[in-house]
Symmetry: C2
Subunit: 406 residues, 2 copies
């Protein structure tokens, strides 16, 4: 945590204030960059480091808001891209915003929509982040300084997304935490492309801030996104740029390289240049080991679809298990009378045998998805509680050994 406060030109922005939001850093781990914080929003205050679970289409798949809460989740997100297409931001606005529409009354984040626009056309989100992309942008019709035009994956209709539209959509959706529009460039592009893309994302950052400021009523707070791909000088420049702007918080986005080492390297480069007093979000991080690594680099919040997505493929997260999970489709669980986690307080984890859950998956019973999705959220929520306690106690290393099989 070196990196003093940035002193760059703030480009004449009014100093947007966020009176209904706050981020208080309560404690710093002397042996790493890990920190404990309190992130205050109009829908409640959460302790950080925290995990943000994905409710892509205004629902955490297979769970009610009460079940998400019961599992220990403090904050969830919705995806602007999916919601703009179905059911539409105007409809959600008429229904009182995402909180009222979904029944989730805690803090909520929406992304800008840009990430999905740039990733949906060419392979999975994971492919994109992990650098497995083949640089095909089938659904994007047009990408210019203004923004992107793309076809809906639902009905082929043409849409435009740009910084002003993204701000407008996110205003209508009404999440507490909202995110600037950015371009998320593919992995297999020349440095020049990444650099130009980053600079455009910076201009889009300023346009996002201008649009945000015009309708700012204190109910929402805006994140800027650090880009620069796999290039150190670009990451540093981007972190400094975003720190110079009146964002409430910082997200680290864009391509994170093709390996764990590259991803952590990128985080290490930009971390000292990120605004030190603002919450830092790391996009798309799902594994236990990523959580430990990122927390040590001073990341305050994460999100990833992984815990809920793998649940639907029969994968239950298990503390200390090889690979961090078990596959409940596996025939070894057919006769297994043990629950997923007898030490858990959650009925999904402590009351159903693996044999029963195995049966439910094999019989295609929807209850399987409910049980394992809630279990996985419960496991990650417990991980985050224990991580926070370990930061306080200075015992992150020993906690990591409990969670990660060597």
């Amino acid at each position: 945590m070196s990196g003093g406060a940035p002193a760059l030109d703030s480009a004449g922005f009014p100093d947007i204030s966020y009176p209904n939001f706050a981020f208080d850093i309560l404690h710093r781990d002397p042996s790493s960059g890990a920190r404990l914080g309190l992130l205050k929003t109009p829908h409640g205050t959460i302790e950080t480091p925290a995990y943000i679970f994905c409710g892509t289409k205004a629902s955490i798949k297979a769970l009610s808001p009460a079940q998400v809460r019961e599992a220990g989740a403090d904050i969830i997100l919705g995806n602007t891209y999916h919601l703009m297409l179905q059911p539409g931001a105007d409809l959600i606005a008429r229904m009182g915003g995402l909180h009222k529409f979904t029944g989730w009354n805690g803090p909520m984040l929406t992304d800008s929509g840009g990430f999905q626009v740039f990733s949906m056309g060419h392979g999975s989100v994971a492919d994109e982040i992990k650098g497995r992309n083949r640089n095909q942008r089938k659904s994007i019709l047009d990408l210019t300084e203004d923004g992107a035009r793309f076809r809906s994956y639902l009905d082929g209709r043409m849409w435009t997304l740009n910084p002003e539209i993204s701000m407008d959509l996110q205003r209508k959706l009404g999440a507490d935490l909202i995110v600037q529009m950015d371009e998320c460039p593919p992995y297999h592009v020349p440095k020049e492309y990444t650099e130009n893309s980053m600079r455009m994302s910076h201009r889009w950052a300023d346009r996002s801030l201008s649009a945000f400021e015009k309708t700012h009523d204190g109910t929402q707070a805006l994140y800027g996104i650090v880009h620069g791909g796999i290039y150190k000088n670009l990451r540093v420049e981007s972190a400094q740029f975003i720190a110079s702007r009146p964002f409430f918080a910082t997200a680290v986005g864009g391509c994170l390289g093709g390996s764990d080492e590259e991803m952590y390297g990128i985080l290490e480069w930009c971390r000292p240049h990120i605004h030190p007093d603002r919450p830092v979000h790391f996009l798309g991080i799902g594994r236990f080991k990523d959580v430990f690594h990122s927390v040590r680099l001073g990341i305050d919040t994460f999100d990833c679809v992984n815990p809920t997505r793998i649940a639907r493929h029969g994968m239950a997260l298990i503390r200390g298990a090889p690979g961090e999970k078990i596959n409940l489709y596996n025939a070894r669980y057919r006769n297994d009378p043990e629950p997923l986690d007898a030490t858990s307080d959650l009925a999904c984890s402590n009351s159903f045998s693996k044999a029963y859950i195995h049966h439910l998956f094999k019989a295609k019973e929807m209850l399987a998805f409910q049980i394992v999705t809630q279990h996985n959220i419960g496991v990650i929520s417990r991980l985050m509680r224990e991580v926070r306690a370990a930061i306080r106690a200075g015992t992150l290393d020993s906690l990591e050994k409990e969670w990660i099989s060597s």
Copy 2:
């Protein structure tokens, strides 16, 4: 409720006793055949008339046992046919029986497996009951005095089901209430076929009782099934036969004709000849109006897959609505901020707008199934509570007007 106790030959059966079970008739409606009862089982006592919800493959689709309970259900059933094929009765026995396997700790019923054997091969269960069957028995290889041989719908494997095997399977599954093996003949057959089938089901009744008696340990109670199709003299004969045997309770099964009138006529014919002190179950009845009609004929329990099945097609049961339900896929609900039932105590019914549920169905979000399935169980459970109160108060007619749109 004329019909004195039957005085037929009991065929030399030992008088099987059910010390852990009881059926107490608390009150009779002076203006109809409706009655209030208490049905005691080793897993609890329920008030009757009661609705038995279908957990076909050891799960009420999309709900946890706690959610089923929360919705007000008192008793559920599992289908022996589905469970024998997947995951298998031996496995469920090793896991401690259906109660332990599923986590449902209330009263539970299993059927004999025969109904599905005879209906799965040729159209839907509803087709069969409603007389829309085309008399094709594709999956049945062989039907003899011994029993039926059929192919599994899962993997084509050959299975045999007969009275002894059905009793053995139901012992292993371990439900409180179990049912004799019967043949369920198609609708479009000559009277002679129905008569021969009924007599075979009577012989299977006796074989079921013999097999039941050999392993009777007090944990389960056996239902006999009244057959005879759409023929009055056969229905009367069958009701008298079943009453003469030491069953704990009586189910009215087999083909119920092609219209409501035929179905109610069949019930009226046999009702006076059914054992007057035993609980009476009516198989496969789902609509509000069927419940009112059947209750007046002295039926104590019902089951039907309808409330949970239609939920998965977007249909929410609504007291007093035309057709008893609304279709949440309908575009009229896209902007509807009202919940399914603001007067309900259940979050599924009172806390989500129809607009949100409409969105969830359109977006194929699993939460839709959870919400509407729980809602429908809640509606039927409330119907049964109100029906019981109305029987006590003598107000069944006015209650029916509240529930059924004229």
